[in-house]
Amino acid sequence: METLLDLRPLFAILVSAVAAVAIAFTGRNPNLRETWSVLAAVTKFALVASLLPGVLAGERYEVDLVQLAPGIELGLRVDPAGLLFALSASFLWILTCFYSIGYMRGLDEGKQTRFYAMLASCLSATIGLCFSANVLTFVIFYEILSVATYPLVTHAGSEKAYRIGRQYLVYAITAGIALVAGTALIHQTAGTLDFQAGGFLDAGAGTGVLWTIFLLFMLGFGVKAGVMPLHSWLPNAMIAPTPVSALLHAVAVVKAGVFGFVRLVGFIFGPELLGDMGAAALLAAFAAATILIASCIALTKDDLKARLAYSTVGHLSYIVLGVALLVPHALLGAALHMVTHAAMKITLFFCAGAIYVHTGKKKVSELDGIGRQMPFTLAAFGVGAVGLAGVPLIGGFVSKWYLAAGSVDAGGLFFLGVLLLSGLLNAAYLVPIVTRAFFRTSEGHPAFNEASLFMVVPIGITAALSILLGIHPDGLFRFFSVAEAMVAGITGTTFAGGAP
């Protein structure tokens, strides 16, 4: 493994921060303003993608910027785990940029300048935490992400939006402070904060301290990852414009919490220590409960975005469960599910937004027969829906397969049962939407009349990506290899077989 000084991770973070400033100053010219977004998104993705070949070849790019506290740098390092998340987030941002243009202009939303600027800031923070080399840097970007999301959650400007914004802040700030406290504890017990594949804490620190650290971090990451009972901000946050729900509350922000668990388990404690402490079992239990309960609640929701939100809560816990099982296959499944769920869920949210912009409909019960009006959108929705349920040939199958294999490895037939049951529940709450849309008829829907191309094209791309991930997970951007490299780093295991 070779470590190289490289500024690309820094530029990848800064490009959208610079864009945010440019956006703020060009608010009067919407076309120019949106150009900055798109330019920044493309540049960011190109920078991230350019790191891929080197990382797969075993190189680690890093740069230390400035000391934050004695001995602790504001350090960036690109490793497979961070790259995996950064790739998916930055790629989906490009699509979200185009989608936002269609969505925000379609609804003639106010405060669009603020919207685009804050979205760009959120992406800076997200990429920042992907590439953080130590706990303190990670926490700093995590907190920036929390604060930068707040104006997006309260975008509607209604009394209800502010109430939800306050709830969001209470959760986010509590989580942030828990992380800061945990970081201070690690700093003084271990003397270092640098992430290390396989973990850097050891049992000598004492059970009480280790458990305190673990619980503080579990609280801190659990909020963003929507682990029950810390999830209730997430369905409420769907009051934000749909591009925010799609990119931040299905991909960037919530996956930041999940990614935090990856760092916690794989790079702070290490699977071995967590297994010995028994702490991972606690996390797995919470995750399993969340998967089942969230799926059941999703069944009862008539509001489409709320149903998708609970589905997100459930699927985030798939990843948390995979991480908490500690075995290589489960970790691989978790890493893949971060990507596949991102592609599928963003498709579903994009569809929900397109339907809302185009027809004003928000409720599942109003969607009968809408498939004739918007066939492409609903076809894409179908891909996402069956994909999340775990049907083969779509991305969700691959990741769930490894998660299932992992639960068998971990000896937890119980967890296997949870996965299978929730797969059924997934199908039960998502597939009927598609069948109703295509096979029922209602008065209200005219003949073919699709949403704006700004929305339909990104939807098509994400749906295609979901399928591609199911057929050949290593095809595009080599997600599978990156995930493998990440697991190999944490556990020392390499997988003989390639993609199924």
Binding site: L68, A69, V147, I173, V180, T183, A184
Partner: protein, 533 residues
């Protein structure tokens, strides 16, 4: 070069005279003298910081008289750090002052300028002197100037300031009494000599009494909970610029004096182990942090909220003293700088809001984000720093305090720092939410109209409500806009001379956060070195 320690207060004392006589002739000359003098003192103190980092401390004997007889002036990392804070805030407030003073205290500006210079002279003198009695002299100089600056505020300011004067006089008296005891026991007033002679006298009751009296006196001056009673009303009713000058630096210099006593006069062992003063301060601070935060949550007047928040924030500094270990004290010292920047900018922003809209009540702030975008962006940065969101400065002092609490194994302090961050998030995000709201119909224009009669009445010296303000009583609703003697000046963004200091402070909050290690490494590590032994 080696005159730097005495040069800074000397420049400022001279400035005070020049500003007074200049201002008698023409207001503009008074201001020019103040600006020049304070800018000069700022430059000299920056040179002092550079000198201390490069070449170590300077000890200057005034008039060539060696210490036991003459007065020694000391520029070491701690005093250089403190003087830099005082003069930086001083310079920025002087830039801000004329526009705000013309609006809030019309006709009294000529006396405000020399008072500002005198206040800064007193505070820098306290920092730089190496003599415990001389410190008392400058303490009183600063206090007198502060009374003047604060009392010209609101209709109820004089009463509040009188209470401050009583508290301040008692505090000064305690300190002086302690100095007397020390002089009788050790036979010297020089700090360095005291540090040498006192270890033999640690069992002496006079020395113990001296330590208790001096720390109590300074505790009163720094508004250490529960001796903070004078503070909320004073900051509430003061002119914005005075509050923006005094809230950031005045209480901190008293805290500095306690730290100076702790490290350089009494040996740390004395105040940690023989007479556990630091532990006691730590517990008072813990109470103060919670009390200040809870009280701030209950306020709707921005100035009063900031005043209570000051009680809590000063307690962070005291908590650093209470932890009495390297990381804890670094946290406390860094928080002096951070809080000076944050609270300074917040009070100055309060003044800008008042100038443009006449508003002081948070629930009426809707629409300010659109009206004054730069000012409100600065407010947001400062508020995030107060909550402790990284990478702003406020985060790092709290982080060091957390590290210090872990080192001390004090989990209660650890928990209190965490909880109080949450509480401050509650009251600061409430304001942020409000300023970025769209105003409902009529809300933004109506108070501006309503403020005219209230302002006119206050200007005429009479007001319908003649009841004296109750002890610690909150501001009454009808009174909230009586501070400005004029109706608010309509207009959008704050005027340039007010906006500039606000923006500079906001940028400093970010820079100090990101580059805090430069300060910690070069200036603060040497200060706390005696504790790590």
């Amino acid at each position: 070069m080696n005159q730097i320690p005495v040069l800074i207060p000397a420049i400022l004392l001279f400035t005070s005279f020049a500003a007074f006589f200049g201002g008698m002739i023409r207001l503009r000359w008074g201001y020019a003298a103040t600006l020049l003098g304070v800018a000069a003192s700022f430059l000299v103190s920056m040179a002092g910081v550079a000198h201390v980092i490069a070449n170590g401390e300077i000890r200057y004997h005034l008039g060539g008289w060696a210490p036991p007889v003459g007065i020694e002036w000391v520029l070491d990392p701690l005093s250089a750090f403190m003087v830099a804070i005082v003069t930086t805030i001083g310079l920025l407030v002087v830039v801000y002052l004329p526009r705000s003073a013309r609006f809030e205290i019309p006709g009294k500006e000529a006396f405000a300028y020399p008072s500002v210079a005198l206040l800064l002279a007193g505070l820098t003198g306290m920092c730089l002197t190496g003599d415990v009695f001389n410190l008392y002299v400058f303490l009183e100089i600063a206090a007198l100037a502060a009374y003047a600056l604060l009392a010209v505020g609101d209709r109820r300011a004089p009463v509040a300031v009188f209470r401050y004067l009583v508290f301040g006089a008692v505090g000064g008296g305690f300190y002086l009494l302690g100095v007397g005891f020390l002089y009788f026991s050790a036979g010297t007033l020089n700090m360095a000599d005291l540090a040498e002679r006192l270890p033999e006298l640690y069992q002496s009751r006079a020395v113990i009494a001296a330590a208790v009296l001096m720390v109590t006196g300074l505790g009163l001056k720094m508004a250490l909970f529960p001796m903070h009673l004078w503070l909320p009303d004073v900051y509430n009713f003061a002119p914005s610029a005075s509050a923006g000058l005094i809230a950031p630096i005045m209480t901190k210099v008293s805290a500095y004096a306690i730290i100076r006593l702790f490290l350089d006069v009494f040996h740390p062992v004395f105040l940690i182990e023989i007479l556990p003063v630091t532990a006691f301060i730590g517990w008072l601070a813990a109470g103060g942090i919670l009390f200040g935060s809870v009280m701030a949550m209950a306020q709707t007047d921005l100035r009063r909220m900031l005043a209570y928040s000051s009680v809590g924030q000063i307690s962070y500094i005291a908590l650093g003293i209470g932890l009495a270990n390297p990381f804890g004290l670094i946290g406390g010292l860094l928080h002096m700088l951070n809080h000076a920047l944050m609270k300074g900018v917040l009070f100055l922003i309060g003044g800008a809001i008042r100038l443009r809209t006449g508003l002081v009540e948070v629930p009426e702030f809707a629409g300010l984000g659109r009206k004054m975008p730069w000012t409100m962006a600065s407010f947001t940065i400062a508020a995030l720093a107060m909550v402790g969101i990284p990478p702003t400065a406020g985060f790092f002092s709290k982080y060091y305090l957390l590290l210090g609490s872990v080192d001390a194994g004090n989990w209660i302090f650890f928990a209190i720092i965490i909880v109080s961050s949450l509480l401050s998030a509650v009251y600061f995000f409430r304001v942020i939410e409000m300023i970025y709201r769209e105003p409902e119909e009529g809300v933004i224009s109506e108070p501006a109209v309503a403020a005219v009669p209230a302002g006119a009445m206050a200007g005429g010296g009479g007001h319908g409500d003649s009841l004296p303000p109750g002890l610690g009583g909150g501001p009454r609703h009808d009174d909230r806009r009586s501070g400005g003697a004029r109706p608010p000046e309509e207009g959008g963004e704050a005027p340039g001379t007010m906006l500039l200091p606000i923006l500079v402070l906001a940028v400093l909050i970010l820079l100090v956060g990101i580059f805090n290690v430069l300060i910690v490494d070069r200036l603060l590590e040497p200060v706390v070195a005696p504790l790590s032994g």
